[in-house]
Each structure stands twice: as structure tokens, then as C-alpha cells.
Amino acid sequence: MSEVKKFLYVNRKAPYGSIYALESLEVVLIGAAFDQDVTLAFLDDGVYQLVKGKNTEAIGMKNFSPTYSALGDYDVTKIYVEKESLEARGLTLGDLMDLKYEDEDDDWAEKDSIRVVSASEMADIMDTQDIVLSF
């Protein structure tokens, strides 16, 4: 399997209210072993998945939010968040987790994984993919 395809994982739902966010993350982590070109997109209520400082103790569910911080170690470095979805929910980039990766092509410099893009830019990103998995 030498062919590299562009995989986009689209996350549209809030975490914890349903299992989509957690099981999407599980696909991303397993998929990372296949050395494909991986991009993550967060839009609609999916932007809540990246909000920092979560505490799930009161709802009795495992807090899987720290897993997003490990994505950089899995070479998942392209994380796009839709600007309009953030704004509609009164959120800014500052409300999101500070996700980083080390750029092997730039002397392992630490860089931001999250990029905020407009809906129009998000459409362009989707248009360039081979495979779009929507959760």
C-alpha cells in the first residue's frame, strides 16, 4: 500500500452528548498508522470538542479531551476549525486547547496545529480530499 491518499475527518458534533467525537478520534489514531495525509476539520457543534479545560466528573464519563493533545505525536498536524461555527457559539481561538506539533522539516520547531478558516476556505479544503469521513 504505497499510495498516499488525503483523508479528511469532519467532526460536527459536540463531545460527550453522543459517542461520535470519541469514536472519530479512535479512527484518527488507528488511521495514523497507515501513513496517509490526514486532516481534521471541526465545524458546527464539533468545535466544542476542542474547547479547553473540560471536566467530565459530574457526568460520570471518561474525559478523553487530553487525547487531542497527543495528535501531534501521531503526525496529525493539520487541524482546521471553522470561523463561523466558533463565532455562532461565542467562542474564539483562545477558548480552544493549545494543540502543537513538532515540525520535522523545520528543526523540530514547535508549531500550532489549529488553524481557524472561513466556511469558504473549509469548502476548498474539503474539495481537495480523496476521502471525507464525516462524524
Binding site: 500500500m1 491518499k5 461520535y20 469514536e23 479512527v27 488511521g31 498508522a33 497507515f34 464525516s134
Partner: protein, 130 residues
């Protein structure tokens, strides 16, 4: 064209499984190849042989099994999602110390890598979800 199909919802609660079944039937009739059908999230519940829908309704697990037998389809249930929801084959039930299994004929349980591989090997990956 070569397709892999992803089904993310359980039978009856959502239309996804019906739509996917109809898509696969139509694709096969047109001479296309179905590389794999992968069941994820509540979609794993399509693979229980213990579903007993009313007699005047369609039986989705049985329809999938019949289609698999007729066309040699590869119906794969995600193991992680299946374990959460109690969909087991005999080996997995034994390994987990359970007293029963419930996987329908024609289905097999495997890992998420099968979904990624399906995406790589196929011309199109079509997702049926909510």
C-alpha cells in the same frame, strides 16, 4: 468502480442502513465492485442475528446476510465499537468470558484498520450516517 461503504447508524433508529443496503444492491446490479462494508458506531447493531423485527417489516440484519452470501460481500464490524455494544462472535465471546455470541452470518469482526484500508484500496468511500 470499486466502493467501500461505511455505515455509522444502527438499523431502524436511522435510515442509514436501509440507504446503504439499497446503494450496495444498486451498485452491484450496475456491475460495480463492493470492496468492503464497514459497520461503525451504532452501525455494528446491523450485525446481530438476534434482531426480531415485526413480521410485516424488513429484517435488515438478514438482508445484509443474504446479500453477503449472494455476492461474497465482506461485511466488517468494528471490534472496539462492537465490544462497547455487545456484538460478539464466538471467539470474542469466549475470550471475554461471555455466555453467548450474536453475530449474524456473513459478518466478521475486525479492527478500524480495515476501514482505512478500504479507503486506500477503493475508488470511493461512501459514508452513510445521520
Amino acid at each position: 468502480m470499486k466502493f467501500t461503504i461505511l455505515i455509522n447508524e444502527g438499523p431502524y433508529q436511522h435510515q442509514s442502513s436501509d440507504s446503504a443496503l439499497h446503494f450496495v444492491q444498486a451498485a452491484l446490479e450496475k456491475g460495480h465492485e463492493i470492496f468492503r462494508v464497514f459497520f461503525y458506531h451504532d452501525g455494528v447493531n446491523n450485525g446481530t442475528r438476534l434482531a426480531v423485527p415485526p413480521q410485516d417489516d424488513r429484517n435488515l440484519p438478514k438482508e445484509w446476510s443474504a446479500l453477503a452470501e449472494a455476492h461474497g460481500l465482506d461485511l466488517v464490524i468494528c471490534i472496539a465499537a462492537a465490544q462497547r455494544r455487545g456484538v460478539m462472535d464466538a471467539d470474542e465471546a469466549k475470550r471475554q468470558g461471555l455466555d453467548a455470541d450474536n453475530i449474524a452470518p456473513g459478518f466478521r469482526i475486525s479492527g478500524l484498520g480495515q476501514l482505512i484500508e478500504g479507503g486506500i484500496q477503493s475508488d470511493r468511500l461512501v459514508v452513510f450516517g445521520d
